[in-house]
Every structure is written in C-alpha cells, then in structure tokens.
C-alpha cells in the first residue's frame, strides 16, 4: 500500500468470520487482560495474571553468542500455557505474577513470550488456583485445540473411531527413530509398539498416538510377548485385531500434548484411561435440575 492509499476500518460480518488459515482470530486489544486459554499465536501486548508452574533454563546460541533462556508452564483459572522468557525475570515456580506486555508465538500451541519490555509484578494470587490444582490437567475440546494450534498439556475426552495402519508392532530406524515402512532398508531396525487412532469428541477429530508404554497396557502384553505373538500368527493382523477389539468405539480420556499443522491435529498421549465410569442416572438428574433452575 503506497502513500496515497486510504485505509478505513469497516464492519463486515463475512470478513470477520473469514478463515485465513494458520493465524486464526488473533485480534486483541492492546493491553487487554486475557485468560490463558484464549491466547492465540500472533497476539501481542498481552496482559495476564498467572501462576508459574515450573521453570527450567535452556542454553541456546543466538547469532553465535550463547544465551540462557527460561521456559516452562504457567496457569490461571482458565487453563495452562507454555511460556518462554528471553530475559531473566527471576521467575520462581509456584509464585503468581501480573504480567504486562507479553506476546504470543507458537510451539505446540500458543507459547507466551516474555521479552525485554515485559513487566512483572508479584501478586498474592489468591484468586488463582494453587500449584497442586493443576495436577489433573486442563480439559479442552478438540475444536479448541485445533483453533489454538495445539497445547503443551491437555486433557481430551472422546471416542476412538478407527485404528489406523502403522499400529501395533512397528520397526524404527536405530539412528533416526523414524518408523520404517514396507520396503525400507531393515538393517538398522529396532522393534517398537505404538497405536495410531482417529480420536473424536464431536467437536473435532485428531490423530492420537499412544506410546509403547500405553500400548503394552492396552494389549496386556509387553514388546517381547508381541514379537512372539506376531511370529505365532504369521503376521501382525492378529495383533491389529486385538487392538481394534480393545479400542474401537470406546470412550477414552487422553492426556498429553497436541500439535496442529497442515496434516491436521495430532495428539501425543502421555496417559490414556477409559473414561471414568460415570453414574449416568445421577448425572442425568443433575442435568435436569440445571435445566429447570
């Protein structure tokens, strides 16, 4: 746009709802106080009240010079979020702060950035949940995760719709750790277990990955027993059937981190449980009471 160009703000409903891909609805009023759960990559001049949950230092090299940065997770009553501090603001895990002039970048979902101009005021944080309240994780819908491009620590509940190929016994390259496909060079192959699922909660869907530990729990067999089982059955179909039998159309609760990219939303589970047995009549009664009230 040149110097003779005239720019006027307009109100246009269609434009406001326009889906422009990676950066979705990142408009925020400068200095606006936001909930952590509503942070979107691309926001700037963000003010939040938060509690630092954990901090660790990382040594990196910036333009050839070594630099120490600080990273970890922060929480407020709405949820949690990763943060990266590019300066030493002397942050202490467990303490609560009023943060002004932070901005949001993206790494597995929104990553709150504290720079040189970010201002910290220590607060008593009585209205914020205590450190131990974050132990059970924060629940999201898959649509929320997709919109915020992931999360570093999320809990989701839904149903398994399909078990994808590449589940069960797989072989990884020793050096790169990549799963090998049929026809790849098997010289450096090491066996591993994992499950790839289509996981869905009605608001969205994702590809969920269950690691070896969870897979062993689901199957009730360890890696050696799986290798034996596959040998006995002349192939991995029988193992696949066991996985499908255990998981397809079952309700699960997953906890882990999520990432959203051009391949869709991926969820890497660190724990996986059958959805807690709920007392349906009781929940239904509470629901009804809420409707009438």
């Amino acid at each position: 746009m040149g110097d003779r160009c005239v720019v006027k703000p307009i109100q246009d409903k269609e434009l406001a709802n326009l889906d422009i891909g990676v950066v979705k609805r990142t408009m925020n009023q400068p200095g606006e106080e936001l909930d952590l759960v509503n942070l979107k990559p691309g926001m700037s001049n963000v003010s939040v009240k938060l509690r630092i949950l954990d901090v660790e230092t990382r040594k990196i090299t910036v333009k050839g010079e070594p630099k120490t940065i600080f990273g970890g997770n922060a929480g407020d009553k709405s949820g949690t979020c990763r943060f990266t501090s590019w300066e030493d603001h002397n942050l202490v895990a467990g303490k609560a702060y009023n943060v002004e002039n932070a901005y949001v970048k993206e790494f597995n979902g929104p990553d709150l950035q504290f720079g040189e101009y970010t201002k910290f005021t220590e607060i008593d944080g009585e209205e914020l949940p205590a450190l131990e309240d974050y132990a059970d994780g924060v629940q999201y819908t898959l649509a929320q995760l997709d919109e915020r491009n992931g999360a570093s620590d999320a809990v989701v509940e839904g149903h398994v719709l399909t078990v994808r190929e590449g589940s069960g016994l797989i072989f990884r390259d020793k050096d790169t750790n990549r799963p090998l496909r049929n026809g790849d060079d098997r010289k450096n192959a090491v066996p591993d277990l994992r499950i790839r699922l289509i996981f869905d909660d009605g608001s969205g869907s994702c590809t969920a990955y269950l690691n070896r530990e969870i897979t062993e729990k689901v199957l009730g067999r360890d890696l050696d027993s799986c290798l034996e089982f596959v040998k006995e059955n002349f192939g991995s179909e029988a193992l696949m059937e066991e996985i499908e039998d255990a998981l397809v159309l079952k309700p699960l609760r997953l906890r882990g981190f999520a990432r959203s990219d051009e391949y869709g939303l991926s969820f890497f589970a660190r724990s996986c449980d059958p959805t807690a047995e709920i007392d349906v009549p009781n929940v239904a009664r509470q629901f009804l009471a809420a409707l009438e009230g």
Binding site: N17, D19, L161, G202, S203, L249, P251, G264, V283, A284
Partner: protein, 307 residues
C-alpha cells in the same frame, strides 16, 4: 486451511431424522452435509442405541443390509450398508438383534421419486456391540451437545451475549446460520422437550413412571411425555394377553384406513397407534404377529399393507 476430517457429531435419532436439508459447500471435496432443524451440521455422526432389526435385502454374494437402532429416547435410526460400503456391511452382519451398539457413519438423505418424504439413514463406517453403560454414557454426551445447540439456537440474533457465552466453533456457527435459512419456523421447544425426555429416561424415569399404567389410558391430548418412559421399560416384556388381540384389531384397522396405495409408513403408523394407546415396542410385536399370520406384508422397507 488444510482440510480437516469431519467430526463424528453425537446426535439423537429424532434430531437426525428431521435433518432433511442438504448443503454442499463451495469448495473442493465438500461432503454433502445434512443440516438439522436446530443447526447441527452433519456429515459423520456417532450414534448409539439398541439394534432392533437387521435384514439382508441383497443376496449372499451382493449383500445389502438394512438395520434399525433404537436410541435411548426410543426413536429410530435407520442404517444401510451395501456393496459400496463393504466394511460397514461386514461389521453390521456380525451383530445380533437386541445388543446395545455404538456406530459411526455418514448421514444420508434420500427422497424417493414417488414420495414427499425425505428419509435420513446412516451408512455405517464402523459399528460394534458395546455395553449398555457405554450407550448411556454416549447418550449423556449427546444430550450435552443437544443442549448446546438448543441454547445457541434460542440466543441467535436475539441475545448476542448469550450467543457469545455459548462459545460456538466456526463449524457450529455455520450450521446454525444455515439452519435459520433452511427452516425459518422451527419449534425449538420440541427439541427442549426431547432433551428433557431423554434425560428423564437416563435418570431412571422415576417421576412420570408412577403416574403410568393405572389401567386406563389418558386421552391422546394428555402429555405424551408421561407415556414415553414406559417404552423402554416394556422392551423385553410381553404385553398382557387380554388387550393384545384388541390392539391387533386397532392396528389392523389403522393399516386399512391409512393406506394410500403403497402401504403405510412405519413412523406414521407409530404416531397414529400411540393415540390409540399402542406404544412402540407393543406395535413392533403386533406387526410381527400380523406378518406371521399373513395378514399384512411390507411392499417396501418399513411400509405395511394389508395382505
């Protein structure tokens, strides 16, 4: 934005079967969505209930399965799987009547040339037998999603704050706007009643149940709400012998009276029979019995005609 897989929307049978308007988006690879009266945008659906009927209307080599599933509220889903959906057909063929199931599949609407009515069916991608607890757990979630849609629908263009609080996804908002265009006059109360009924049943149906079965049936205008909880209760029971003959006659009369040539549609028969005091499971039994006696037959799937 990259293409996303369609989420499997949890929807009760009553809402699904009224979702007769189709919508195709102006983009590559858009599925044909069905838009429900209160704004669910449906392509893939996750449904649950008890498998009630299953029939192979094709042959051994070229199977075409039709099946019916009763949701926890007592309404019907219709399932179809033929040669273009072998996985679904195989999964269906493994099931036995009477088992609780969960099913994921694509919703399809079809209007036969000689008919005014649009039939919504589900083409299963996967279906399996589960426990009743899992169906009830699904139903609670389905009710939760239903309530979200009802609240958003009520707030639309009336209460901006409430709509904002509902925190709809782009997809949900789009479905809601489309539904307002397709169905300008919808009684949202019907869906609020559906929600209430279904939750009452899931809660055990204590309250309305006691008023029921005093021997006399209330006039048809009396709230059907009090009558429906009985539906599920009697699924496994045989109705008393005394009025079963009586009811057979009633149903037979209805079939004769309402037939306009090619048989009477099951749902129409069901609502008419309810007014005569014959509920869903009782009707099914009567229809089976009449078919066995050779008094009626099905000229088309789910249409009944006097033999």
């Amino acid at each position: 934005m990259a293409q996303r897989r369609e989420p499997g929307v949890l929807v009760l049978a009553k809402e699904l079967s009224a979702a007769i308007e189709k919508h195709v988006e102006n983009r590559e690879y858009s599925p044909t969505y069905l838009i429900s009266e209160i704004g669910a945008k449906l392509s893939r659906v996750l449904i649950g209930g008890v498998l009630d009927q299953i029939e192979n209307r094709g042959s051994e080599d070229d199977p075409f399965y039709t099946a019916r599933v009763i949701d926890p509220n007592g309404d019907f889903y219709y399932l179809q799987a033929g040669q273009y959906n072998p996985e679904g057909a195989v999964a269906l063929s493994k099931l036995e009547i009477g088992v609780p199931v969960l099913c994921v599949g694509k919703a399809r609407a079809r209007t036969p040339e000689d008919s005014e009515r649009t039939y919504v069916s589900v083409q299963p991608e996967n279906i399996r037998a589960v426990s009743m607890d899992e169906v009830n757990h699904w139903a609670i979630k389905a009710c939760d999603h239903l309530m979200r849609r009802i609240n958003a629908n009520k707030a639309f263009e009336k209460d901006e704050d409430a709509l904002k609080r509902a925190n709809l996804t782009i997809r949900e908002m789009n479905g809601l706007e489309l539904s307002k265009g397709f169905y300008p006059t919808v009684a949202v109360e019907n869906y609020a009643a559906l929600l209430y009924d279904c939750l009452t049943k899931l809660a055990g149906g204590d309250l309305p149940e006691t008023k029921n079965f005093t021997g006399e049936f209330e006039p048809a205008s009396a709230a059907p709400e009090t009558e429906i909880p009985e539906v599920k209760e009697t699924v496994e029971e045989t109705p008393e012998k005394g009025d079963s003959n009586d009811n057979e006659t009633k149903v037979m009369t209805l079939i004769k009276e309402m037939d306009e040539g090619d048989g009477i549609y099951y749902d129409d028969l069901g609502s008419a029979a309810l007014k005569d005091g014959v509920d869903g499971p009782m009707l099914d039994e009567i229809l089976d019995s009449l078919s066995d006696q050779g008094l009626i037959f099905q000229p088309r799937f789910n249409h009944y005609k006097e033999a």
